[in-house]
Amino acid sequence: MRNIRLVLVGLRLQVKMLSRSSFNGILGILYPLFFATVAFFVFQAGAKDALPFAALGAAVMGIWSATSTSAGSAMQRERWHGTLELLVAAPSPFSLVMLPMTIAMSALGLYSMGATLLWGRVLFGIHVTVEHPLLFVLAVVVTVISIGLFGFLMAVSFVRYRASWALGNLFEYPVWLICGFLVTVDHFPEWVQKIAWTLAPYWGMNAIREAATGGTPLPDAGMCAALGLVYLSFGIAISDAMLNAARKRATLALT
């Protein structure tokens, strides 16, 4: 009960902090629209039939980008503000302190999903029809949570590195590519597809598209949720070891 309360209080605090930065807010509003615009122009020029495919892909790209970059930058921000040491010095499990940070970030990614679909509809006339609205919502929720949990695993793994923000950025574009957001993974060699299978965004993307096109999203959503739980369990399991590595290497503070 206490742990749930800790996560909820942390979530409230993170959302409050994110909502109070006008600079980050403007960037958060504009970035997904830039990415979506580029994707729509590219598809409009060469594959008009695939525009709804691109619209859904660009929408999930926003969720992923919000989470991956912020998983690294959240850690950096805590380090920069000198609060990371205080979080570690507190007796609460570090994993439960980090979890709300990344979940909050990926939940904010929901905005970019809505904004991208709306942007595509208003400016590019892309109509995304959703055949199974309830399953679509389920697939989106599962994808957001699983991506948040992937961000959590990244944040916990990055704690010992002072350049954690760079690691977050490093993952952003490769995942765009290999999770089939804009290009189906069939175009890649088999070993790349195998990497994609270990990534929740790949399954989440499939589930969302299946729900939109009237297919069977549940198996993909199930895989996405299962991978999310794996990330969570692994993150909790390694958090103490990662923290001890940071305590050994003296990387919790900036200097």
């Binding site: 206490r2 309360r5 109070r20 000198g82 609060t83 010095a89 507190a90 007796p91 001890n244 050994k248």
Partner: protein, 322 residues
Amino acid sequence: MAVVEVRDLKRTYRTTTGVFRRRAMDVEAVRGVSFEIGQGELFGLLGPNGAGKTTTIKMLITLLIPTSGTAQVLGYDVVAEAREVRRRIGYVFGGDRGLYERLSAYDNLRYFAELYAVPPRDQKKRIAELLELVGLSGRERERVEGYSRGMRQRLHIARGLLHDPMVVFLDEPTIGVDPVGARELRAMIASLTDAGKTVLLTTHYMFEADDLCDRIAVINKGTIVAEGTPGDLKAIVADRTVIEIETFGVSEDTIERVRAADGVTSVSIEEREQAQVLLVQSPAGTELTQSLLSLLDGTSVGRVAAREPTLEDAYVALVGEA
């Protein structure tokens, strides 16, 4: 039984230099420090920048793992029983950082109350008590980004006391705070031991240590060079005299000449507005004033006075001569 027990604690940092041919280098920040702090004692750790004060404190509050040696707080090992130690200690550091700027003081305290498992039904009351104690009542709903340095520091102290810790670690808590604010903070620190808490304080300010500490350890280059009550430390230089010479624009060469003069034990410089005051220590009974003034020939000299040594002089002697 000692509340804090430190035995031969060492900490080495590994740094790398070079871009293409990177070379690793070990820097010994703390080289075998030992001390004990008793129940209800206010223990000061004094030393210049880079002496190892903050590294020592960070090992005790479980943020750094010692390279070797042992440390126990309230009987719990800081490495093997880190969580038990964390439950029972409070940590406050000086400076602007360590707070969520975009949140109000209340939100900051609320979050840390949760992190320290303060029972939900007690949180509101505890936060109100602490805000009252640190003089921030009525300002708690304002964002921290609008707070002055002194207000932030008081908020830090409130944060560190949320869970009513038995041991409080204060790392330069008055740094950068204006004199009035610093005086209020010192009164607050003194009240901690009155409430039965054990306190470890690191500071640069001698008068602060003299005023507050029951015992002091002077740390320099990672080792403790002296330990005792403020009176014990002053006794180290009791057989000395201090001559204060106010100068204007004194050169490094001249200072070196003074330092090398017969009978001079140590020289330190204190900047006071436009003046540089040379604090020259010498054995009591040695008459040096005339010879020092002749060495300062060509330098503009103001007031000259001899006085009894203070704790600061003891510190200068310990750190400067080590």
